[in-house]
């Protein structure tokens, strides 16, 4: 047997010998266990209330990232100021996944009610991503509490009144009833043209 043959055989033997003692390595596409997911879901720690979000937007909190998970058409009609649109059917595009994979921002997702944002949250939590939250009640709750806050009853305590005052000022900040409904809110409203009245000469009187 030639020397090269012996050399190759020796190399293969050494390689296989080392390999024999190595454990099986499988790359699991990271998913948390279903028990952990159930626990996390039931804790209900994923909710941000509409008041929290209003405070975050007004104070320009840099750690919150708002994501609208509805379709692009609904996003164009009406959305929260500063929200990004990631439609629920393109969550797993690699471009969009980077929003959810990071641990710098707290991502708060919202939709019309709670259910769509909750579904997206469930999917992302299953993939093991932290830092994702849901705005409780979605845009419906937003309109009911922030834009058109209900007036507290006689029996309400001071905290409720303070909340109501905050909500009223937030409502004014966000443009009052309806929020950002029109596409360019800065369009000047047409002012009625004032036609100067022609002063007619006095009729009668002294001549």
């Amino acid at each position: 047997m030639k020397k090269l043959d012996k050399y190759i055989m020796g190399l293969l033997f050494v390689g296989a010998l080392i390999l024999a003692f190595l454990p099986n390595k499988r790359y699991a596409y990271h998913q948390i266990k279903s028990k952990d997911l159930l626990y996390k879901t039931n804790l209900n720690l994923r909710y941000y209330s509409t008041d929290d979000i209003a405070k975050a937007i007004i104070s320009k909190d840099p750690s919150i990232l708002l994501i609208d998970v509805r379709t692009p058409k609904e996003y164009a009609d009406f959305t929260l100021p500063g929200a990004i649109n990631v439609p629920y059917d393109s969550i797993t595009n690699t471009k969009n996944l980077s929003y959810f994979k990071q641990d710098v921002y707290n991502v708060v997702m919202f939709s019309n009610g709670s259910s769509l944002a909750d579904e997206v949250w469930l999917m992302l939590s299953r993939m093991g991503f932290e830092n994702n939250f849901v705005m409780k009640g979605g845009l419906n709750q937003w309109i009911e509490t922030i834009i058109r806050p209900p007036r507290p009853t006689n029996l309400a305590g001071q905290k409720e009144w303070e909340q109501y005052e905050f909500r009223k000022s937030a409502s004014a900040y966000f443009g009052g009833a309806g929020g950002q409904v029109n596409s360019n809110p800065t369009a000047p409203t047409p002012t009625p043209v004032v036609v100067p009245q022609k002063k007619t000469g006095s009729i009668g009187g002294c001549e």
């Binding site: 047997m1 043959d5 190759i8 055989m9 293969l12 033997f13 390689g15 296989a16 010998l17 390999l19 024999a20 003692f21 190595l22 454990p23 099986n24 390595k25 499988r26 790359y27």
Partner: protein, 208 residues
């Protein structure tokens, strides 16, 4: 982290270009090992030249050991690499048919294309035979072969998993078998060649 194409790291045209380059290297290696010579190829079955066995085992074990090391160090994800499902019955039948063709014709399908590209007439005829066989199989598939083709399905079998041992241990066992086979066939080849006269060996057109 590989593999490149299943994870869309490279596009399909680039994938095909890499395939062309790998194929070029493969053809070069086959020709350099002498696999375009029918006498060397069929020598395994007659016992005077075991180069096919040596090259095959060396290639397979190098690839296996290299791949599993790469998997361990995170350079490639073995779970994404495709391998087809196992149908044991049609595989055995097909293997027997191919072995018959190999001994009679002196080529296996891959080496026949290599030899045909070097200009050997018998290789070109062999390639013609391959085409006729494939077309004939396709024409009579539904009535004759479809049941055989679908029988013996075992799904995607990983032998190490099937036996219940770790991958590395299985590769080690196969490497030991390969090394023992190398030593045995070298002795066999030397013994066989010593029995024959020099003229006979020259007539065969072999070296070593």
């Amino acid at each position: 982290m590989g593999p490149l194409f299943p994870q869309n790291i490279i596009t399909e045209p680039v994938n095909l270009l890499i395939a062309v380059l790998i194929g070029t290297g493969f053809g070069f290696a086959l020709e350099a090992a002498g696999f375009t010579n029918t006498r060397k190829l069929a020598g395994v079955f007659y016992g005077y030249d075991f180069v096919v066995l040596k090259v095959f085992f060396t290639a397979a074990m190098t690839a296996a050991i290299g791949l599993f090391f790469m998997n361990y160090f995170g350079l490639i994800d073995l779970q994404l690499i495709y391998y087809p499902s196992t149908y044991w019955l049609p595989t055995i039948v097909g293997g027997l048919i191919m072995a018959l063709g190999f001994i009679v014709g002196g080529f296996c399908p891959g080496t026949s294309f290599c030899a045909a590209s070097t200009g050997k007439i018998d290789a070109i005829t062999f390639v013609g035979g391959v085409f006729i066989g494939i077309i004939g199989y396709g024409l009579v598939y539904t009535p004759v072969f479809s049941k055989l083709r679908a029988s013996g399905k075992m799904g995607r079998v990983n032998i190490a998993e099937w036996l219940g041992i770790s991958d590395g241990l299985f590769i080690f066992i196969v490497t030991i078998i390969a090394l023992v086979a190398f030593v045995v066939v070298t002795k066999l080849q030397a013994k066989w060649n010593a029995k024959r006269s020099d003229e006979f060996l020259d007539d065969l057109g072999l070296d070593d």
